[in-house]
Amino acid sequence: MAGPPLLEIDDLRLGYATERGTVQAVDGVNLELRRNEALAVLGESGCGKSSLAKALLRTLPRNAYPPTGQVRLDGRDVLGLSEERFRREVRWVRIALVMQAAMNALNPVVRVGDQVAEPLRIHRGFSRRAALQRAAEAFAEVGIAGAFLRRYPHELSGGMRQRAVLAMALVTEPDVVVLDEPTSALDVLTQAAIMNVLKRIKQERGISFVLITHDIATSSEIADRVALMYAGQVVEEASAQAFFTEPAHPYSQRLMASVPRLDQDQPPAAIPGRPPNLLDPPHGCRFADRCPERFDRCSEPPPATTLKGRHNVRCWLHSKSRGATT
């Protein structure tokens, strides 16, 4: 997984205006994604992971303040691009999005084939015929029979709809596909089948994925690297190997312990407490309230510490560990 980063997120900050004040949904996130790498952004609801996805695609709701920081694609900042240039040069051309198919991702009154072909006609200027031809290929790639091109969304099962949404993201051959909870509304078998499709596409096409999910087990199906978010910040970012076997942050450890497992005899353990209110987040470590390992230093914001091998953790416990660079 060497090579220069394809996508770099640098100190991204993003807030929403609400009636009670500003909610700082994303608060200084740094991430990088290399070519043909899958990065899982994990976190529980309200941690800012979906806002991050929306900021990448610029599909933020109207009450969001313009994000600050940088999002660099091949070294060029795309956050500062005009809306028109972003639409022409980035969205669906370089970065595509896969939403939950259950959530209005498809227009109910347009045949799925036309919807999948649409990005080609908009962004690549294909004729309808050529676009449909490519859409058929994309359907084959995600495992739907070409006959379904002429169907309407409601005639497809949930799994097939999700595959169609995936095909829509793939037709324009983007470099990065952002997957926002792509399987969370689906059944276990369908989930597994779609994860198989994603794995195959990653192997064959060399696409980079950003997988936004709250499902730790699903994230382990594809992730090369994992970033865990908590209360608007990335608290740990590591290779999947390191994250799933030796998580460093106390929150990561607790979260891993809360996953019900089939092959372990000890029951899962809950994490007491609730995440902080993002209207007024604590000054120090945001997990401190719930953390059994907290000590005096935790009332100060913890620095991002890099452990060996691109393993970043935002926790005072690790700030003095050997080999750490702050």
């Binding site: 205006a17 709701p61 109207r62 009450n63």
Partner: protein, 444 residues
């Protein structure tokens, strides 16, 4: 419900809502003032006209408008024999009384009309009067002599012969010293006197006289062709309109909502029946039905209200509420309520209806003026309540008397303004409420 109160508290952020609330408060204050200052029976009596208004001018404009542009139009001036000095002489077996009615006329404009009301009390022989007009300069003008019945109205301004003698209509000629045919007549201000010499043939006979010099303007809103003070109608129209609008809106909304909820809850043939009834009812034209009932049966406002509510129940609202309630019926909390044993009535009234009430508040508020306008339209069509003064009836009279053609703009503007204020107040409040309770319309 706290969430409602939160919504209402948010109203302060919308200037249009505040303005709307102020207008509504003004209307409510007017309504309360009207029903307390002029009791219902009084209002009815006043509006029936006749004696109650004999002292008011016909088709007079509002006084304050005249004052606004510095006019000096005449107000109504009265002089009564009760306040006058009466000299009495015995003469050849009859009594001769001389009553001098004095009045100060200080206006720049001429009066609109001059009437003398005479009430005499006698057994068999009518008294005989001689009327003489005395100007501030002391000139005397004989206005005629006549026998007087028990009640007599002497329309001095209608006297054709007098007009011929004066060269002007009497209400002008009596108050000017400009010779006719020279220039525009100018008012001679000062104290005028009407001298009434009465010959009484009986011992006990008596005579009361009231002279009324009618003004060109009157009161807040002027008067109509029957000398009725429009203020009464406009004041009393307020509680009538508000009550009609509110009752009709409440009646239709509440029953419609409950019926829609019951249809959605029971489904099947109940729902189908309600839907078919609604579809039939929607294509029935409301106004012609009301006109028919008003023409053939009665125009009582309560009957109209009842018909409006009954016909309003199975209205398009049922379709709208049904669409809103269908997803509510599927709510897990409704299922939970069934699972813990809540009855059908409880589910409909406690769990389904309240769920969509906040969304209905704006609709409800904007519905009120709709019914106010409906009531006014009926009255304009001549189907107003027979006894109550309403805005619509004023408009109806104005139209019947070609008010605008004659330039009696105030006759139309008064009630129209009240209707517009009502519509505006509720609409401004309703639209603000809509933005609060239907957040999808709210732009961030």
């Amino acid at each position: 419900m706290t969430s409602w109160l939160e919504g209402l508290a948010r109203l302060r952020k919308y200037p249009s809502a505040v303005a709307g609330l102020l207008l509504i408060a003004l209307l409510i204050a007017t309504a309360i003032y009207a029903v307390t200052a002029i009791p219902y029976s009084e209002a009815q009596k006043l509006w029936r006209g006749g004696d109650a208004w004999q002292d008011l001018p016909v088709n007079a404009g509002p006084a304050w408008i005249d004052r606004l542009h510095g006019g000096e139009a005449a107000r109504t001036v009265r002089a009564s024999s009760d306040d006058a000095t009466i000299r009495e002489d015995a003469f050849e077996g009859v009594r001769v009384q001389e009553t001098v009615l004095e009045l100060d006329f200080e206006y720049g404009g001429f009066p609109s009309e001059v009437n003398l009301f005479l009430n005499s009390d006698f057994e068999s022989r009518q008294p005989f009067v001689r009327l003489t007009w005395r100007t501030p300069d002391g000139e005397e003008l004989f206005l005629g002599a006549r026998r007087v019945g028990a009640t007599e109205r002497v329309s001095i301004s209608q006297d054709q012969r007098l007009e011929g003698r004066l060269g002007y209509p009497p209400q002008v000629g009596l108050f000017t010293d400009t010779p006719p045919g020279t220039s525009e007549p100018a008012v001679r201000q000062g104290t005028y006197e009407l001298v009434i010499e009465t010959v009484q043939f009986e011992e006990q006979a008596s005579l009361e006289a009231d002279l009324v010099i009618y003004g060109q303007v009157h009161g807040l809103f002027g008067t109509d062709h029957q000398r009725r003070d429009l203020t009464v109608a406009l004041l009393w129209g307020t509680p009538v309109a508000l009550a009609f609008g509110l009752l009709a809106a409440v009646g239709t909304t509440v029953t419609t909502l409950i019926i829609a909820a019951a249809g959605v809850w029971y489904g099947g043939w109940v729902d189908a029946t309600i839907q078919r009834l609604t579809e039939v009812n929607i294509i029935l034209p409301l106004l012609p039905i009301l006109v028919m009932i008003g023409t053939l049966y009665s125009t009582s406002i309560w009957l109209m209200l009842g018909v409006v509510v009954v016909l309003g129940i199975f209205s398009a609202g049922i379709k709208m509420y049904r669409a809103m309630l269908l997803p509510v019926r599927q709510s897990p909390y409704i299922e939970a309520a069934r699972a813990y044993g809540a009855s059908n009535a409880r589910i409909i009234l406690r769990y389904m209806v309240p769920r969509i009430l906040p969304v209905l508040i704006p609709t409800f508020v904007t519905l009120i003026p709709t019914y106010v306008f409906l009531e006014a339209s009926l009255a304009v069509l001549g189907l107003g309540d027979p006894v109550l003064p309403t805005w619509g009836k004023v408009l109806h009279d104005a139209q019947a008397q070609s008010a605008l053609y004659h330039g009696f703009y105030y006759w139309v503007i008064g009630p129209a303004a009240m209707l517009m204020v009502t519509g505006l107040g509720f609409a401004m409040l309703g639209f603000a409420l809509d933005r609060i309770f239907n957040p999808r319309l709210r732009s961030a």
